[in-house]
Amino acid sequence: MSGYIGSQIPSFVSDVTSASGDFTIGSDLTVNSDATVSGGIYLGGTGSANYLDDYEEGTWTPTLLASTTNPTVTYDTTFTNASYRKVGNTVFFSFEVRTTARSGGSGVVRIGGLPFTRINDYNPDGDHLSISPYNVTFTGSGTALVGIVGQNNTYINIASVKSGSAGADFVITDWASSGLAFVRGSGLFRV
């Protein structure tokens, strides 16, 4: 079934079922309830750059890891949480990892548990994030933290930045072993 709806939009008093083929609507369309689209939608044009094929939101569980050996961690589960919104091929995410104790571990700090796997390319349009820490020590002479989601990875590498250098390692022993410590962050990456 196909057709063209011009200036007059008919009122469907019941569900339209068993419809196939294309409809072209030549005027505004108002939907007063939910719309379910099995495929994608084109916004502002009909090119592939206008195509939106997916939207989803949900939660994920962030974990404190390290690149060589993972630490043993006691989480403050009240505040350790994370969310995501996937729009097309881009995942927007935020998280907080809050601990009350950390023992052991070696290597640079990582946050694990990302809800999707980052795409495998070197295009930097969306693999960095901002980090806000509490009760960490910058033993590597850094002054702030940044996060990077590497290609084909499902975790965030955290590094410290400093003046006049490419950066410094932020290692797991820089994370407080007792008392409250946390990082909050938000960013995006492509899938």
């Binding site: 989803e56 939101e57 949900g58 939660t59 994920w60 569980t61 995501y84 640079v108 548990g113 990302l114 809800p115 999707f116 796997t117 795409i119 495998n120 990077i148 590497g150 290609q151 084909n152 990875n153 499902t154 590498n157 590094a159 899938v191």
Partner: protein
């Protein structure tokens, strides 16, 4: 009126060069059998991850796709990364 909650893994995907297994868990609330709420929680099982604690279905998928060759290639990929 009866409210029920059920949790299902409604999407298990194999993605990328190293066969990451992406798992979406849906929590569904129903009133008298009619769905009124659905929320999602996601996690990913990488080739080097332990599958202990995963569902039987996810473990089976991981066992099938995370071959030793895939694990070795992923380990080499990680070692080659700058950070």
């Amino acid at each position: 009126m009866a409210l029920t909650e059920e949790t299902v893994q409604d999407k298990i995907e194999i993605v990328g060069d190293f066969k990451h297994v992406q798992v979406r868990t849906a929590t569904i609330i129903k009133r008298d059998g009619v769905e009124i709420s659905r929320t999602y929680h996601r996690h990913v099982v990488a080739p080097d991850a332990t599958t202990t604690g995963e569902s039987t279905e996810v473990q089976a998928v991981c066992a099938a796709v995370h071959t030793q060759a895939v694990k070795d290639a992923y380990a080499a990929h990680l070692a080659a990364q700058e950070v």
